[in-house]
C-alpha cells in the first residue's frame, strides 16, 4: 500500500483523503437551497478503492467534484495528501487539480485529437521534464490501446474511448483517481472490463481510487463501499 507523505515523515498511518463536515448547497429559484452534500466526514486511506453508491441525486458526483476541487464547498474541510484543498485558488488550485485524475461518464474526449493527443491534452500548455508522448504511449499500452494511438475518438468504441479517458487521467501520475460513473455509458461487459482496468491500475500504481457508481456489483469489487442518500452518508462499509 502506498504511504502518504505524512506517513513517510511520522511513520503514523494518516488517511490520504480526509473530509470533515463538508457541506455543499445549490441555490434554487424561489425556495430553500438544495443541500447536495450535508456535513459529510470521511477518511480514505492511501491505495484504497472506494465506491460511492446511492440513487441519482444522492450527492455522489458532487462529493467527487468537491474532492477534485471542481466545486467549492460551502463548509467543512477537505485535505488531500496533507494539503488543505478548501480555500485553494488561482495557480495553487490548478496545480492541485493536476495531482488528481478525473474519469467521466461521458469521456469528454476532444474529437479532433487522436487517442495519443487526447492523453497528452492536459499537458499541452506545460513544459515537462519527461517526454510527454512516451508517457502517453506507455499509458495507452497500459490500458490496452497501444495499437490505437493514432485513432480519432470517432473511430473508437465506447469502451476504448473510456480507456483513453482513463489514460488521460493518469498522465500526471495522480495520487487520487476520481471516476464519476465510469461505466454509466457502457454495456455491462465493457463496464466490467473498465472496472477491471481501474482496479488493476490501483494495484499496480497504488493509486487511491474513488469511484461513483450505482452498480452494486461494481461497488462490491472495491475495498470500501460508502452509501449516500440525500447528501448524507448512510453507510460506511469497512
Amino acid at each position: 500500500m502506498r504511504r502518504t507523505s505524512a506517513e513517510a515523515l511520522t511513520g503514523v498511518s494518516v488517511p490520504l483523503v480526509c473530509l470533515t463536515d463538508v457541506r455543499k448547497t445549490f441555490p434554487l429559484p424561489g425556495g430553500a437551497p438544495l443541500v447536495a452534500v450535508n456535513d459529510v466526514s470521511l477518511s480514505i486511506a492511501a491505495g484504497t478503492a472506494v465506491a460511492l453508491t446511492g440513487p441519482s441525486g444522492s450527492g455522489k458526483s458532487t462529493l467527487l467534484h468537491l474532492i477534485g476541487a471542481v466545486e467549492r464547498s460551502d463548509g467543512g474541510t477537505i485535505d488531500v495528501d496533507g494539503q488543505r484543498v478548501t480555500g485553494l485558488s488561482g495557480g495553487a488550485l490548478a496545480a492541485y487539480r493536476r495531482r488528481i485524475g478525473f474519469v467521466f461518464q461521458r469521456f469528454h474526449l476532444l474529437p479532433t485529437l487522436t487517442a495519443l493527443d487526447n492523453v497528452m491534452a492536459p499537458l499541452i500548455p506545460f513544459r515537462t521534464a519527461f517526454d510527454k508522448a512516451a508517457r502517453a504511449r506507455e499509458l495507452l499500452a497500459m490500458v490496452g490501446l497501444a495499437d490505437r494511438s493514432a485513432a480519432l475518438p470517432s473511430r473508437l468504441s465506447g469502451g476504448q474511448q473510456q480507456r483513453v479517458a482513463i489514460a488521460r487521467a493518469l498522465i500526471n501520475r495522480p495520487a487520487v483517481l476520481l471516476a464519476d460513473e465510469p461505466t454509466g455509458n457502457l454495456d455491462s461487459q465493457t463496464g466490467t472490463a473498465i472496472v477491471d482496468l481501474l482496479l488493476r491500475l490501483r494495484d499496480e500504481h497504488a493509486t487511491t481510487l474513488i469511484m461513483a457508481t450505482h452498480d452494486t456489483g461494481i461497488a462490491a469489487r472495491c475495498d470500501r463501499v460508502v452509501q449516500m442518500r440525500d447528501g448524507c452518508l448512510t453507510s460506511l462499509d469497512r
Binding site: H65, V70, A94, H108, L113
Partner: protein
C-alpha cells in the same frame, strides 16, 4: 433548464444584434441624408459669387487654367487690354445679362512724400562738430527682405554757416557750397552740391551712389537758401506706386457696390468725363481725370531708420574740400556708434499722400522735389504678366531681368530719379516694363519752354476696399480690382520662413504679387490717356504700346434674376456664356458655382534675403458646386447601401448563430413529427417577435445617440425603423431558418465526436490547439471570420468612400467647408461599422464557448489555469480575425478600387488600416466571452457532458 437559458441568451443576443443594427442603420442613414442636405444647402448658399461670368481676351488664359478648369487671380495688373469698348457693349446687350462691369488697366503712377527725420535728440551736445549717419532700410516680404537705401548724412557745427540764398543765385552759375565760419574767422567750404548728370550718365535709380545725401547745419542764426532757420533734420523720400484702372461707375456700383464704399468726397457720376481746365495765364487747356483713391495702401512695407554718430574724423572729411561724390563715398567708409533706431509703417506716409492728392490747391505752397508730381499725370508705367512656367504641381515664376534705368526716365526734374521705391532693386518676375509719357499735344514747343502735361488727376474722393461686396468667402472670385489677399506659404519651409505670415504685394511692381488698383477713374475718361498720341511709349516696341483700340482687360458679368443650382439654371448660364463667346470671340469662364482653391507658385529668392518660397495663390476652381452636389449624392447612396448590407449581414450572422444553437431542439421536434412548415412558422414567429422588440430598442438607442452627437434624424427614418427591423430580421433569418427547417434527426442524437473523422496535425502547443479548434468547426469559424470580413470590407469601403469624397471635393474653400460638415457622419459611420464588427465577432466567440463549454470545463478540471484558457480563446479569436480581416481587406480593396476606378495608395492604406482595426476588434471582442468563460458551471458541464 440550461437549454432554456441558452435559448434565452441566444434570443437576447439576436435581439441586441438587431437593435444595434437598427440603431446603426437609423443613425447612419439619417446622418447621411442630413449630411447630404447640409452639403447641398451649403453649396446652394454659397453658389453665387459676385459675378457669374468672367470675360477675358483669349490670349490671357494660361494653359494650366484650361487643363485644370481653373481661373487665375492676380492677373489684372499685368494685362494690357484686349477687349474693345464695342465688345463690352455687345456683352451688355446679350439677353439675360444684368451687369457687365469692365476694367481697363492704365498703369502705375508714382507718388512721393518727404519723410523728415529730426535728429535733435541724437546730437552730442558737447561736440563742436559732428556727423550723423541716417541709414534707411526698407523692410518687406513679412520681414524677409531688408533692402538698404542710400544713407543721409548730417553735418552739424557750432559755427555759423553762410549760404547764398536762392534769391541771390545767379542764373547758370551752379550752386555755391555753404561756408562754415570758424571761430578764428576762417571760412571753409563744406557740403559741395551734387554734380548734375546727363541722361547718358544716369545710374540705375536704385544705385546707392545716387541715393545718398549730405546736409550741413550751422549754429542758431544760420539760415538755409530759402531764408529759414537751419534745423538738424534730414529728409528721406517715400515713394508709392499707385496702380490706376478705369471702371464704369454704374456697372461697378451695381456689381461691387463701389458707390457705397466711398469714405470721403463723392462717387463718380454716371459716365463721368474729364473736366477741361486752364492754368492762370497759360494758353493751353489740360483735362483733369476724375479719380477715386483707395484710403488704405494695400501694399506692405516699412522703413527702418538707424542713426549712427560717426567718429570725429568724419568732420574733417566734410571740411576737406573734396567733391560731393568722393565725400559721400568716404563718409560711407567711416565707422560710427548706433544712437537710435526707428521704424515707420507705410500707413502714415500713404495717408499723407492721399491727403495731398485730395487737396492739390495747397500744393503750390509746399512745392518740393518730393511732391512735384502730385497732380500732374506726366507719366505712368506698365509691366507685363508674371513670367511663369508650368511646374509639376503648379507654376514656377522665373526671374525677368530688365534695365532698371527705365524707372529714371520718368524723372522730369533732374533729381527725382532717386525717388523710385528701393524695392525695385529686388528680383523681378515681370518683364515688359515700359514708360508712357504725356506728349502735351497742342502745346507749342517753342512757347517759353513750358514743360507741362495736358493731363492731370482730380481726386473726387476715397473709397474703402474693405467695404466692397465680395460675396461669400467660400465662393469668392478674383476681385483684383479691389484687393489682393496675398498668398500663404504652400509648404512647411515656406510657412516657417514667412513666420506664419502671408506674403502680400509690396512696392516692387515687378514682383510676383501685384497690388490692386489704388486709383480708379472712369471709362469715359479713358480717351484722355488712350487716344492715339496722348502718351508716347518707351521702349517703343509694338507690344509695349498702350492698347488704344481695345483698352479693356476683363469684363465681369452678372446675370439677371435668380440663378439656382438646378440643372435648368445651369443650362441657362451655359447658353448665355456661349452667346457672349459667339458674339465677341472672347474667352468666357463660368465662375458661378466655383470656389477658391490654392495654386502653388514657386517664387525665386530675392536679392535682399527672401529665400525661395512656394506660395499658395488663391485661384478659383470652376464648377465646384456641381461636383460637390454630385459627390454628396453619390456618397449618401453608397453609405446607405453599405450600412444596409453590413446590418443585414450582421443580423444574418446572429440569426444563423441563434438557429445553430437550437439545432438540437429543432431536430427533436422533427423527430417528433413536426414538418418543415411547422418549424418555419415557429422560427419566423420568434424572429419577427425579436425583430419587433429590437426595432423599439434600436430606435431608442438611435435617438439617444443622435441627441448626444447632435445629429438631426428625420422622423420618417425613426418611424420606419420598427417595420424595417422586422423585415431585416425576417430577411436575414430566411436562409438559416430554411436550412434549419430540414434537420437531420440523426445529427441530433449522434454523439458530437462522430461528426469529425479527419486527421489533423497533432496540437502539442496552445497555438496549434487553437488553430485545430478553428479547423474543427469550419462552419462556425467561417461565420466568425465572415462577420469580421464584412466589418473590415465595410470599413475599407467606408474609408475609401470618405477619402474619395474628400479627394473629390477638397482643395477648394467650399469643398473644405463641406468636408468639415460631413465629418460627423463619417465618424459615425466608422464607429457603427466597428461596433457591429465587435458585436458580431463577440457573438461568434460567445457561441463557440457555449458549444465547447464542456471542453473548457475539462481543461479546468485537469489543471489548466484561467490564463491558459483565456489565451486559448484569444488565439482562436485572433486567428479568426486574421482570416476574416485579410479576406475583408481584400474584398474591400477590390470594391473600393472598383468604386474609385483603380487602386491608389490611400485606398491600400485604408485596407491596411481596416485590417489592423479588424484584428484589434477581435482582440477587444474576447472581453465578454472571457468573462463568460469564468462563469462556466464546470462541474455541471462535466457531469452532463
Amino acid at each position: 433548464m440550461s437549454q432554456w437559458r441558452v435559448r434565452l441568451r441566444r434570443s437576447l443576443a439576436l435581439l441586441s444584434m438587431i437593435a444595434v443594427a437598427v440603431a446603426g442603420f437609423t443613425l447612419l442613414t439619417g446622418a447621411a441624408v442630413t449630411s447630404r442636405l447640409d452639403t447641398v444647402g451649403t453649396v446652394a448658399a454659397n453658389y453665387r459669387p459676385v459675378y457669374d461670368l468672367l470675360v477675358r481676351p483669349a490670349d490671357a488664359v494660361l494653359p494650366l487654367e484650361q487643363q485644370r478648369n481653373l481661373v487665375q487671380s492676380g492677373q489684372l495688373a499685368g494685362m494690357r487690354g484686349g477687349i474693345t469698348v464695342d465688345q463690352w457693349r455687345q456683352i451688355q446687350a446679350v439677353r439675360g445679362v444684368s451687369v457687365a462691369a469692365p476694367v481697363a488697366m492704365i498703369g502705375y503712377v508714382m507718388r512721393t512724400v518727404p519723410v523728415t527725420v529730426d535728429l535733435s535728440d541724437q546730437l552730442d551736445p558737447t561736440a563742436e562738430r559732428q556727423v550723423l549717419r541716417v541709414q534707411p532700410t526698407w523692410v518687406t516680404d513679412a520681414g524677409l527682405s531688408q533692402i538698404p537705401d542710400g544713407p543721409a548724412y548730417l553735418y552739424v557745427t557750432r559755427n555759423r554757416l553762410d549760404v547764398v540764398p536762392n534769391s541771390e543765385l545767379e542764373s547758370g552759375g551752379g550752386l555755391p557750397p555753404p561756408e562754415e565760419v570758424d571761430a578764428d574767422g576762417q571760412r571753409v567750404k563744406i557740403c559741395p552740391a551734387a554734380s548734375s548728370v546727363g541722361e547718358g550718365d544716369w545710374l540705375q535709380p536704385t544705385d546707392l551712389r545716387a541715393r545718398s545725401s549730405l546736409t550741413c547745419v550751422g549754429r542758431a542764426g544760420s539760415t538755409d537758401r530759402e531764408g529759414k532757420a537751419m534745423r538738424p533734420v534730414v529728409t528721406l523720400v517715400w515713394t508709392v506706386p499707385f496702380l490706376m484702372a478705369a471702371v464704369d461707375p454704374d456697372s461697378e456700383a451695381a456689381l461691387a457696390g463701389l458707390d457705397r464704399a466711398v469714405t470721403t468726397g463723392r462717387y463718380f457720376t454716371s459716365a463721368e468725363k474729364p473736366t477741361s481746365h486752364r492754368l492762370d495765364g497759360m494758353r493751353y487747356p489740360y483735362s483733369k481725370l476724375p479719380i477715386l483713391i483707395a484710403d488704405r495702401p494695400q501694399i506692405e512695407g516699412a522703413l527702418r531708420i538707424d542713426v549712427q554718430r560717426l567718429n570725429p574724423g568724419a568732420t574733417q572729411l566734410v571740411r576737406s574740400g573734396s567733391d560731393d561724390q568722393r565725400l559721400r563715398a568716404a563718409l560711407g567708409n567711416e565707422s560710427g556708434t548706433p544712437v537710435a533706431q526707428r521704424t515707420m509703417s507705410i500707413d502714415e506716409p500713404y495717408r499723407t499722400m492721399v491727403d495731398r492728392m485730395l487737396r492739390p490747391g495747397q500744393l503750390a505752397i509746399e512745392y518740393d522735389v518730393a511732391t512735384a508730381n502730385t497732380m500732374w499725370l506726366h507719366s505712368f508705367w506698365t509691366v507685363g504678366p508674371a513670367n511663369t512656367v508650368q511646374a509639376e504641381d503648379g507654376l514656377s515664376a522665373q526671374p525677368a531681368p530688365y534695365d532698371l534705368k527705365i524707372w529714371g526716365k520718368g524723372a522730369d526734374d533732374g533729381g527725382s530719379s532717386r525717388h523710385v521705391p528701393m524695392e525695385f532693386a529686388d528680383t523681378g518676375v515681370r518683364g515688359g516694363v515700359a514708360i508712357h509719357r504725356n506728349t502735351a499735344r497742342g502745346y507749342d514747343p517753342q512757347a517759353g519752354g513750358v514743360n507741362m502735361p495736358d493731363t492731370a488727376m482730380g481726386a473726387v474722393g476715397t473709397f474703402d476696399p474693405a467695404k466692397i461686396s465680395l460675396g461669400s468667402a467660400l465662393s469668392a472670385v478674383p476681385m483684383d480690382t479691389y484687393f489682393n489677399p496675398g498668398a500663404d506659404g504652400a509648404d512647411e519651409a515656406s510657412r516657417q520662413a514667412l513666420g506664419g505670415e502671408r506674403l502680400v504685394p509690396n512696392a516692387n511692381v515687378t514682383g510676383l504679387l501685384s497690388q490692386p488698383p489704388l486709383m480708379l477713374t472712369t471709362m469715359a475718361a479713358l480717351p484722355a490717356i488712350f487716344d492715339p498720341g496722348a502718351y508716347s511709349t518707351e521702349p517703343a516696341y509694338p507690344e509695349y504700346q498702350l492698347n488704344t483700340a481695345a483698352p479693356i482687360s476683363v469684363v465681369r458679368v452678372r446675370l439677371a434674376g435668380e440663378v439656382g443650382i438646378d440643372p435648368l439654371s445651369r443650362e441657362r448660364v451655359r447658353v448665355i456664356a456661349e452667346e457672349i463667346a459667339r458674339r465677341t470671340g472672347l474667352q468666357v469662364d463660368i465662375t458661378l458655382g466655383s470656389s477658391p482653391t490654392a495654386m502653388t507658385v514657386y517664387y525665386p529668392a530675392g536679392n535682399y534675403g527672401r529665400p525661395d518660397l512656394a506660395v499658395a495663390e488663391p485661384w478659383v476652381q470652376k464648377g465646384v458646386a456641381a461636383v460637390l452636389v454630385h459627390a454628396a449624392d453619390r456618397k449618401s447612396v453608397l453609405l446607405s447601401v453599405l450600412v444596409l448590407a453590413v446590418c443585414a449581414l450582421a443580423v444574418l450572422n446572429a440569426n444563423t448563430a441563434a438557429i445553430r444553437a437550437r439545432r438540437t431542439e429543432y431536430g427533436i421536434l422533427a423527430c417528433l413529427g413536426w414538418n418543415r412548415r411547422h418549424l418555419l412558422q415557429l422560427m419566423f414567429t420568434e424572429i419577427a417577435g425579436i425583430g419587433f422588440v429590437a426595432g423599439f430598442v434600436g430606435t431608442a438607442l438611435a435617438l439617444g445617440f443622435a441627441f448626444v452627437l447632435g445629429l438631426d434624424i428625420p422622423w420618417s427614418h425613426t418611424l420606419l425603423a420598427i417595420p424595417a427591423a422586422v423585415a431585416l430580421a425576417l430577411l436575414a433569418g430566411g436562409w438559416p431558418a430554411w436550412r434549419a427547417a430540414r434537420p437531420d434527426p440523426g445529427e441530433v442524437i449522434r454523439p458530437a465526436v462522430l461528426g469529425v473523422a479527419v486527421r489533423r496535425q497533432a496540437p502539442r502547443r496552445l497555438s496549434t490547439l487553437a488553430l485545430a479548434n478553428l479547423a474543427r468547426t469550419p462552419g462556425r469559424t467561417a461565420l466568425g471570420a465572415m462577420s469580421l470580413m464584412i466589418g473590415v470590407a465595410a470599413l475599407t469601403m467606408l474609408l475609401a468612400i470618405t477619402f474619395a469624397f474628400r479627394g473629390t471635393v477638397t482643395g477648394t474653400l467650399l469643398g473644405d467647408a463641406v468636408t468639415l460638415q460631413a465629418r460627423t457622419v463619417d465618424y459615425v459611420a466608422v464607429a457603427v461599422t466597428i461596433v457591429l464588427g465587435i458585436v458580431s465577432v463577440a457573438d461568434v466567440l460567445y457561441l463557440n464557448i457555449s458549444e465547447r463549454a464542456a471542453e473548457f470545463a475539462l481543461f479546468g478540471a485537469v489543471g489548466w489555469t484561467g490564463a491558459m484558457l483565456n489565451r486559448l480563446v484569444v488565439i482562436e479569436a485572433i486567428g479568426m480575425g486574421v482570416i476574416g480581416g485579410t479576406l475583408g481587406a481584400a474584398a474591400g480593396l477590390g470594391a473600393a478600387a472598383a468604386f474609385a476606378g483603380g487602386i491608389n495608395a490611400p485606398i491600400v492604406w485604408c485596407s491596411v488600416a481596416a485590417l489592423a482595426s479588424g484584428v484589434a476588434v477581435t482582440a477587444l471582442s474576447v472581453v465578454v466571452p472571457i468573462a463568460m468563460l469564468r462563469r462556466l458551471p464546470t462541474a455541471q458541464l462535466l457531469a452532463e457532458g
